[in-house]
Amino acid sequence: MPTLYERLGGAPAVDAAVDIFYRRVLADGRIARFFDNVNMEEQIAKQKAFLTMAFGGPNKYTGKDMREAHKKLVAKGLNDMHVDAVVENLSSTLRQLGVGEKDVLEVAALANSVRADVLNR
């Protein structure tokens, strides 16, 4: 039985998804302001790390960096609503790429598993 990451298509699938996902996030009025003045190349690399983790791919996720990276944003008002928006954008990206609903839900669950770290709770 192939893993979620294998079913989604591995690293090439992450590559295919990252531009679409990031474009959706930047176009989303609810969360776009958190991405003002960021270096887009660094951001894409970070989004790839996040997608790899959410796709169930190889990672050594510890949560420490996730907490550090979002500390300032939490101070600026980052909350559950914004995390919901990101997960929503991730799900619609996968649907656009033709991923089945069962796998979409599995990715959303993995993405949701880092919510507490992102919000520094």
């Binding site: 531009d19 990031y22 930047l26 887009m40 660094e42 790390a49 190889p58």
Partner: protein, 319 residues
């Protein structure tokens, strides 16, 4: 044989161990995060030896060509000498061979360099005065065709480097340069794909290098060069570029002077967004001030360009 050297220090690395782990074990504070070859936080550069291909996955072709690699997934098969990415560039001496004016406020400098200085057109270097004042300039020349390094220097009223170049510098003078630096050059571009070069002011310098490099390497896809300036006089290579466009079927030159009404007038970024069609297939090079580059990069990406296919260099004002 010693498999890993950091700057000039030999580092103990166990068989099968990755470079990042070895550096951390040697108490070197190497930046890192995912430890899975994805986030690129642990980016380092090999100045001697070749990193295994697996350690360069996901990097741009320009980064690969410069020896960049991800330390967390790099298990050296052959000896490597590595440096952090913010390591100061090597210095070398150059001799001024010619200075002339391209326009009222743009000077062109030709520098003779030694055999140790090798560069790719579009990279930049730091020009250093005898007093130690340093400024970054992009390289407009092509090493295979030009004997000297060519720089375009925007002369600012009251600028210290500007004053030095326009009043003190003369042919025969010796100066130091550091570099070359940067990954904004013709690499990882398919020769048949559309190539779009956008620059404002002396952002034209790297684009001229990239354009000539692309033609030399047989780029046969459509090439468009957009050059923006405040006034028409700032379109300082207008005539030679028009002539090239008349001669080469796959090359188009789009000049835009901000203060000019009508034909050739207006904002260069607006012209790009209006005229560019096959965004997804195009390789972009954007060079100029922060406002132009950041805004255009975002706009092109949002309209469908692939971020991997947008190379850019931001010209920051001297502080």
């Amino acid at each position: 044989m010693n498999m890993l050297t950091y700057r000039s220090a030999a580092i103990d690395i166990k068989p099968g161990e990755d470079v990042l782990s070895a550096l951390l074990r040697a108490e070197i504070d190497a930046p890192h995060s995912c430890r899975a070859g994805v986030c690129q936080t642990c980016l380092h550069r090999a100045v001697e030896g070749t990193p295994p291909a697996a350690a360069q996955e996901g990097l741009t072709e320009a980064q690969k060509a410069q020896g960049y690699f991800l330390a967390c997934v790099c298990v050296p098969k052959t000896p490597l000498t590595v440096i952090p990415t913010d390591e100061a560039a090597a210095r070398s001496e150059v001799i001024v061979r010619a200075i002339d004016r391209l326009s009222g406020d743009v000077a062109r400098l030709y520098l003779e360099h030694g055999p140790d200085f090798s560069y790719r057109p579009g990279q930049f270097l730091e020009l250093i005065t005898p007093e130690g004042l340093g400024r970054h300039y992009s390289i407009a020349s092509v090493p295979e065709e030009d004997p000297h390094v060519e720089l375009h220097i925007r002369l600012h009223r009251g600028g210290r480097m500007s004053g030095f170049v326009s009043e003190q510098l003369s042919p025969g003078d010796r100066l130091h340069v550091a570099g070359p630096l940067g990954t904004c050059f013709y690499e990882g571009v398919d020769p048949g794909q559309p190539l779009t070069l956008v620059g404002a002011g002396t952002g034209l310098a790297p684009l001229m290098g990239i354009l000539r490099d692309a033609l030399r390497r047989g780029h046969h896809g459509p090439i468009r060069l957009y050059h923006g300036a405040r006034e028409r006089a700032g379109l300082y290579l207008h005539d030679p570029l028009e002539a090239l466009a008349a001669k080469r079927e796959n090359f188009t030159y789009v000049p835009r002077a901000l203060s000019e009404p009508g034909f050739d007038g207006g904002d260069v970024a607006a012209a790009v967004l209006e005229q560019e069609q096959a965004l997804k297939e195009t390789a972009f090079f954007l060079c100029g001030g922060e406002r132009l580059v950041s805004r255009l990069k975002r706009d092109l990406f949002m309209k469908g360009a692939s971020l991997k296919q947008i190379r850019s260099d931001v010209f920051l004002p001297a502080n």
